[in-house]
């Protein structure tokens, strides 16, 4: 969802005001950070299954 907003033509184009662009980045970083902790668990489980 955050990526979808970021890829919108008013976001990636860089035509928004600075504070709006700042919010696009902040929203994306929040999403990435939240997802990274989950993905870390997914990878950990996968590695454990592969390597034991």
């Amino acid at each position: 969802m955050a990526l979808g907003i970021l890829q919108h033509h008013d976001a990636v184009a860089g035509t928004a005001k600075q504070k709006v662009t700042d919010d696009y980045v902040a929203t994306s970083l929040r999403a990435i950070n939240k997802f990274n902790s989950l993905y870390k668990d997914i990878k950990a489980e996968e590695i454990k299954t592969e390597v034991g």
Partner: protein, 131 residues
């Protein structure tokens, strides 16, 4: 309206920025509009839901001829004195970030899809809502 076009099949696109997220609400109302317009033979219009390929098929059957456009659409302007001339080059860090984020998302999406298909990850199973 058809007088202003080269074919009797006219394309009316649906969509807007950030607007069409609630499909149930939109289709319920568009259904009503289609039903109303089609119930009025005096309008001389038949409106249907369509697709690009259905539209192209329909106008090809009308054998309309079109002028050839050789120049391009740039620089884009959406208002008088409002040219978007910087939007491919400005905010390079943001553009780089979008590309990095997209690549990461795409890779992760494939990985998680595989895990879902093989049903091999308890972590994926336990977090279906968030994923």
């Amino acid at each position: 309206m058809a007088n202003h076009y080269r074919t009797t099949n006219l394309l009316h696109t649906l969509g807007e920025d950030f607007q069409y997220t609630n499909s149930r609400m939109w289709y319920k109302n568009i259904d009503k509009l289609l039903k109303y317009i089609n119930s009025k033979p005096e309008y001389g219009i038949k409106v249907i839901y369509s697709t690009p390929s259905v539209y192209i098929d329909a106008i090809q059957k009308e054998k309309a001829t079109y002028p050839v456009k050789n120049d391009d659409f740039f620089p884009y302007a959406d208002n008088a004195n409002a040219f978007w001339t910087g939007y491919f080059t400005s905010r390079v860090a943001l553009k780089g970030f979008v590309k990095d984020f997209s690549r990461f998302t795409q890779a992760v999406r494939k990985h998680i899809s595989e895990l879902k298909i093989s049903n091999s990850s308890a972590t994926v199973r336990g977090n279906t809502k968030q994923i």
